[in-house]
């Protein structure tokens, strides 16, 4: 080896960088890297020069200036006197809210549909195919605008609930109001003593975990299968509800009531939030369903047959044999669907949902004229969210990966 090296060194000529396959790959990479650095440098420099020429050097000072505009959906305290920075955080939280709710619902819906699409029942399987093909093949922006239009045109305005003989009434024993401004639902109000109910509930969760562990150990030792689902369900609800009753209902519900122009009290789920979430969920769930279907189909039929030969029923074959293995195929495409959903949520602006693109990259950009800064910040934020999602999902993916023993 040392001999060969020395020989190569001695006879090294510049032309070998191109003609010698030992060096060529390296040469190409170095050249590409240099070109890339020059290209990037040129872009950055050009932007900086042009901004300076416009008299707008990069500066983030506007983030601490008062924003001056109001935001309807705020998860944290915010008024028009708060800063642009805070407005950006309000927007970010709104983005995270749709993304989280959207991913959870899309997963539930997508897995259900994906499994049902493989159903032996012809009608069910076909219906699911229609669902997938319809929702997957129309741009999500159209679904967002469409759901919003339905909300605005189909549901009644709050003023139609007024008067002695109103043309619209509240649903579900006067607890829910469906209006074209959104859905008003009862809101839990926590009075003293509700902490105890909360603790009891948390204890029940711990209890469920221990119970399941115990049930599993028992099954492994004796083969007896307990109805874990029903018992868990019982532990989930009964102790908390019992404490709630014993303590005289410390957690009460505040119902929405029509007052003046709008419904007051209760929780207001704005139609911008609902239509955005609904559209993202139905759209993404169609893709998730396909990922789930391909994951299941990737597991060889022999597995099902072997499990059936052991006497397992269909549900158990699915949950014990097929899905755990299918997960390995499903998770990677699922990660990209979560990322897509999160990024697609930036279409929020179409229905006036105040996410990060609506606040920071929308109104703030417009009122301050800081295009470069706000766009860079927004990109950075989306990049960070996406990286967090994919890291988390990759960790999960590794944890369920095939472990060779």
């Amino acid at each position: 080896m040392a001999m060969a090296d020395q020989e190569a060194k001695q006879s090294f000529r510049l032309s070998m960088l191109i003609y010698d396959s030992r060096y060529r790959a390296m040469t190409i990479q170095v050249v590409a890297l240099i070109l890339f650095i020059i290209g990037a440098g040129w872009l950055v420099n050009n932007a900086a020069q042009n901004l300076a020429a416009l008299g707008k050097p990069l500066s983030f000072g506007f983030l601490s200036q008062p924003a001056g505009y109001d935001i309807n959906q705020r998860l944290i305290e915010y008024t028009s006197q708060s800063t642009h920075g805070r407005a950006a955080i309000v927007g970010l939280l709104n983005t995270l809210l749709v993304a989280t709710v959207g991913c959870i619902l899309a997963t539930i819906l997508g897995v259900t549909i994906g499994v049902l699409r493989l159903s032996k029942n012809w009608l069910v399987a076909r219906l699911m195919t229609v669902y997938i093909e319809t929702f997957r093949n129309v741009p999500v922006l159209l679904w967002i605008v469409f759901t919003m239009a339905i909300f605005i045109e189909v549901f009644p305005a709050p003023r139609e609930f007024k008067g002695a003989d109103p043309s619209a009434t509240m649903k579900l024993w006067d607890s829910v109001a469906l209006t074209n401004r959104g859905v008003f639902i009862p809101k839990p109000v926590f009075e003293s003593g509700s902490g105890i109910v909360g603790i009891v509930f948390l204890l029940s969760l711990v209890g469920i975990w221990f119970f399941r562990r115990w049930a599993r150990a028992k099954q492994e030792a004796t083969g007896v299968i307990l109805p874990t689902f029903w018992i868990s369900l019982g532990i989930f609800f009964i102790p908390a509800i019992a404490t709630q009753i014993i303590l005289g209902n410390p957690i009460s519900l505040e119902y929405p009531v029509l007052k003046g122009f709008n419904f007051k009290g209760g929780l207001h789920l704005r139609n911008s939030f609902l239509s955005l979430t609904a559209a993202l969920v139905i759209y993404t769930s169609a893709f998730i369903a396909e990922a789930v279907r391909s994951g299941i189909m990737a597991i060889s039929k022999g597995q099902t047959e072997a499990a059936a030969a052991l006497g397992l029923r269909y549900n158990r074959i699915m949950s014990l044999v097929i899905l755990p293995q299918a997960m390995r195929v499903i998770i990677p495409p699922l990660i990209s669907q979560y990322l897509n959903l999160t990024k697609n949520s930036s279409l929020a602006i179409a229905v006036g949902y105040m996410d990060i693109t609506g606040t920071l990259m929308g109104i703030t950009l417009n009122q301050t004229g800081r295009e470069m800064e706000t766009v860079l910040l927004t990109m950075l934020i989306y990049l960070t969210i996406s990286l967090i999602i994919s890291t988390a999902m990759n960790v999960y993916n590794n944890s369920i990966a095939l472990k060779e023993r």
Binding site: I34, A53, G68, Y69, I71, R159, E160, R181, I349, G369
Partner: protein, 338 residues
């Protein structure tokens, strides 16, 4: 080696940038058309008619500038912009000027680096509500849901108005006037607020316009006018004086009907200077002598443009009010042509 290349490209790039920002007039002449940012559709101010021709009060300003600069009032590319996209469109050079119901404010002038060349409509922010609500004053709007266009002075005024009156409201942010109409007509918002002229123009398109009323309060000053990028004085002057020519023409009685006759020469020296029969004002900013004549001939003078698009005999029916000539007690006033 690497550095030379880098510096070379950078130098070339900054040279190109410098060129692009300097001569808007040359750019427009080279393109053969004026890119003019207008609204996405506000009947009376800027909207395409049934044949796709843009017309309206703001559109006429674009056409006058195109006529002055290019000799053709139709050599305009109208770029529809929303309240939010308009400034980016102008700053990035996508449009050469904006004539889009845009309020002249300190921060837009100073911080956003634009130059407002004048005011073509003195306005203020108003409120429109359905009659059925039985509201007679903006002070009764506590708790109302309000539709507002984002990226406007409207949303800032609104926040201030409600806060200073100790009232709360639910803002519904909206991109374009068309969306605002849809939400407002279906009752998804109780109130629609924007410039009073915009409200009148919007209301005029409603099927049952009488079911809606404008509230008496005007909560802000909204001087609307055309604007250009800061830093190109020559171009700014051209747009400014085109607007002034339209205004002076009304004051001096030059109309689209008598302009040919007057350009034969009159005994009013200012008219002669405007129409190019005396002196060479146009030459001072790189245009020919007849620039203003063409600008006025394109759509008539300021008063004619007003009456044709938004005046009392149109469906919009705006009175001249503040926008009358200074001699009639209004604020419309052009510096002298000399």
């Amino acid at each position: 080696m690497k550095n030379t290349v880098l510096f070379g490209t950078v130098a070339a790039a900054s040279l190109a940038a410098g060129l692009a920002s300097a001569g808007t007039l040359d750019d427009v002449k080279a393109k053969g058309e004026l890119a003019c940012g207008v609204s996405t559709g506000l009947v009376g101010f800027a909207a395409p008619d049934a044949n796709g021709n843009w017309e309206g009060f703001d559109v006429s300003v674009c056409r006058a500038v195109a006529a002055a600069v290019l000799g053709d009032a139709n050599a305009v590319k109208f770029v529809p912009t929303t309240g939010k996209t308009r400034f980016t469109a102008l700053a990035s050079g996508e449009v050469d000027m904006l004539a889009r119901n845009t309020t002249w404010t300190f921060s837009r002038d100073v911080d956003l680096k634009f130059t407002f060349v004048g005011v073509n409509y003195y306005d203020g922010q108003g409120f429109m509500v359905p009659k059925e609500l039985g509201v007679s004053s903006a002070k009764e709007l506590d708790g109302a849901t309000v539709c507002i266009q984002t990226g406007t002075t409207t949303e800032l005024n609104l926040a201030d108005f409600f806060r200073s009156n100790g009232m709360s409201y639910e803002p519904v942010p909206i991109e374009t006037n068309a969306e605002a109409q849809q939400q407002f007509l279906s009752g998804a918002c109780d109130v629609f607020t924007t410039d009073a002229s915009g409200l009148a123009a919007t209301r005029a398109t409603f099927e049952n316009a009488d079911d809606y009323v404008l509230l008496p309060e005007i909560i802000s000053k909204e001087p609307l006018g055309p604007l250009v990028r800061q830093g190109d004085e020559q171009w700014g002057d051209i747009v400014r004086w085109t607007l002034n020519a339209l205004i002076s023409a009304e004051e001096l009685g030059i109309t689209s009907a008598n302009i040919e006759e007057m350009s034969a020469g009159t005994n009013n020296p200012e008219i002669n200077r405007i129409l190019g029969t005396e002196g060479d004002l146009g030459g001072m900013f790189g245009l020919d002598k007849e620039w203003a004549k063409r600008a006025i001939a394109a759509n008539g003078n300021y008063g004619e443009i007003f009456e044709k698009n938004i005046g009392e005999n149109t469906a919009i029916g705006l009175a001249r009010g503040l926008n009358a000539q200074w001699k009639q007690g209004g604020l419309i006033y052009s510096p002298p042509f000399r």
